[in-house]
């Protein structure tokens, strides 16, 4: 590292090798350079400030954004209702859905035994 680079880093409070710093301080013109770097830093101090209305407005905006907003809650409720409606519609659809051209499956089969559940009666009616 160059002597001037060591001094530049030293002025910035960065960690520098003590041996390198000692050598840099011994280099010709090191004293002037060090003083110039300090003066440059002082000359470039920036005091600009944003306007007070801007800062107030930003504080309000950011505080407002941090709060849960009623409008967002309304959207969340609407989304939940929509989701429930979709689920309901799907279940209703299942009730009416059939498997292609196949007839619907019987839910219950009734069997009647001749002689038990019914009797054959000769024509002319029972005697």
């Amino acid at each position: 590292m160059e002597a001037s680079e060591v001094l530049s880093a030293f002025v910035d409070g960065e960690t520098v090798d003590p041996g390198e710093l000692a050598a840099a301080l011994e280099a010709p013109g090191a004293r002037e350079l060090l003083l110039d770097l300090v003066r440059l830093r002082a000359a470039l101090v920036e005091d600009a400030r944003p306007s007070a209305p801007f800062v107030d407005q930003m504080r309000r905006k950011l505080a407002e954004r941090a709060r849960p907003r009623p409008r967002m809650l309304r959207w969340a409720a609407a989304a939940a209702i929509g989701a429930l409606a979709l689920l309901g519609a799907r279940d209703i659809g299942r009730l009416f859905r059939t498997g292609g051209d196949e007839p619907p499956r019987p839910a219950r089969v009734l069997r009647y035994e001749p002689g038990v559940d019914w009797h054959t009666v000769p024509s002319g009616g029972p005697s």
């Binding site: 680079e5 530049s8 770097l37 440059l40 002082a42 470039l44 920036e46 005091d47 944003p50 950011l62």
Partner: protein, 167 residues
Amino acid sequence: MPTALDLFERHHLTVFRFLVRMGLSREDAEDATQEVFLRVPRALPAYEERQSERAWVFRIARNVRLDQWRAAGRALTPEPLNGEPAARSVPAAERLALEQALEQLGEAERESFVLRQIGGLGYAEIAEATGATPDAVRSRIHRARLALRLALGGPRRLGRAAGGWEG
């Protein structure tokens, strides 16, 4: 995890000054500062505690500035330093020379130098914010300082001005 308001309170002043020193007018710097802290809540989920908070905020500020720079076709007009208390303590000729020298620095040198000088970021933080290595940052700041020193007349003139910086 900090909130956007916490980060605004801690960093808005240095972000604003960084943007002014990087060539934005006061008005543009306010707009850009607003954009930085409105982007913060969107970026917060990606924030990790181990990161430097300051470097993270300045990375956003840097991106906002680059976006504005591109949108403006790289034709931003630097704000003169006139009227600032710190600038008033420096003689007008030196102030003007300093401003011009800053403008003439390469983008990377100027950015690293201003992040150090105005933002107060360490070399490692600047590296984190800009994506460079700490060694590259150290070299950039060093080159910027030598260029500023040279532009101001070099060692002899600065030596003569030793008692004159305070006006």
